[in-house]
Each structure stands twice: as structure tokens, then as C-alpha cells.
Symmetry: C2
Subunit: 89 residues, 2 copies
């Protein structure tokens, strides 16, 4: 299945990522965030916290589930975090 | 309501925190993690990812919801992340 993935870096602006999360959630009901490194993971979590606040006003309660995945960057294997963000059922 | 809170620091060992999460989830059904700073937030998310893997073997699907809260450390106001970790209903 093809779906939208938001790649978050340590330089991502959480309010902007939060806006993107809110948009994708309203379109497809869930969104996958990918973050490589502590700084990126921190920005991703902040973004989810902000998106939760945005969407709570429309009665949507966002939840997320983190899991590890491996990526190869510049021929180096790195452990990264994938966050699936979705509406609470 | 009194309940158990796990404070995670940048020096916390994710596998140990994951064990604590699994223990508290099995006792009270949910657990609150608190993390101040990017390094701590990263360790907290890794811990949840590991706890998810531990508990999935017992049929428990963990979800989490991040939100901001303010703490005062050494007379300085800092923004921190609170993660409520619970079983998916």
C-alpha cells in the first residue's frame, strides 16, 4: 500500500510538521513519521503533541505507536524511529 | 488520583525503562513517562518501542499520547514531554 510518510529532521519546525500531520490525518486517517537520531525524534514527538492539541478542537484524539526500523545513510546502518500516528478508535 | 510516574533522563537505559513500563502496565493498565530535554525524550520513545515489542508477545498492543507540560528545574521554567502509555482498547 502506498501512503504518505513525513520525514522529520532535527531542524524540522514542530508547528509546521504538526500542520502536515493534521492535514494527512484528515485525508487518510493516519500518518507515518520517520526520524533518524535523537534530535529528529524529539522534534517528531513535539510535532505530535502540537497536532494533538490542534485536532482535539475538532474532536479527534490522536495516538501514536513508536517502533524501530533500520535505514542506511551514507553506507552506514542506523537505527531510526517510525511513529504511526492515528485517530483513537 | 495517585499513580506511578516514570521519570526518564538522557542517561536512562531504554531496555530497563521498557521493563518498568511493562511491569506498571500489567499492574495499573497505563503509565506516565516524563522527559525533560531532547535526549530524555528520545530515550523515552525508544523505551516505549521496546516495551511494545515485549508486550506484543502477550497480546498487548501499547499506544502512547504525548503532551507538553512545564517544569521548574533550578528556578528555570522548562518545557517537558509527558507520555501516557496505555493498552489499545
Amino acid at each position: 500500500m502506498e501512503y504518505e510518510v513525513l520525514k522529520v529532521s532535527s531542524k524540522s519546525v514542530p508547528t509546521s510538521v504538526a500542520g502536515a500531520i493534521a492535514g494527512v490525518i484528515q485525508k487518510q486517517g493516519f500518518v507515518e513519521l520517520q526520524a533518524v537520531g535523537a534530535g529528529a525524534t524529539n522534534q517528531a514527538i513535539k510535532s505530535v503533541a502540537i497536532a494533538r492539541a490542534y485536532l482535539s478542537e475538532t474532536g479527534i484524539d490522536l495516538i501514536c505507536t513508536p517502533e524501530f526500523f533500520n535505514v542506511t545513510i551514507d553506507d552506514e546502518d542506523r537505527s531510526a524511529i517510525k511513529l504511526i500516528v492515528e485517530k483513537r478508535k
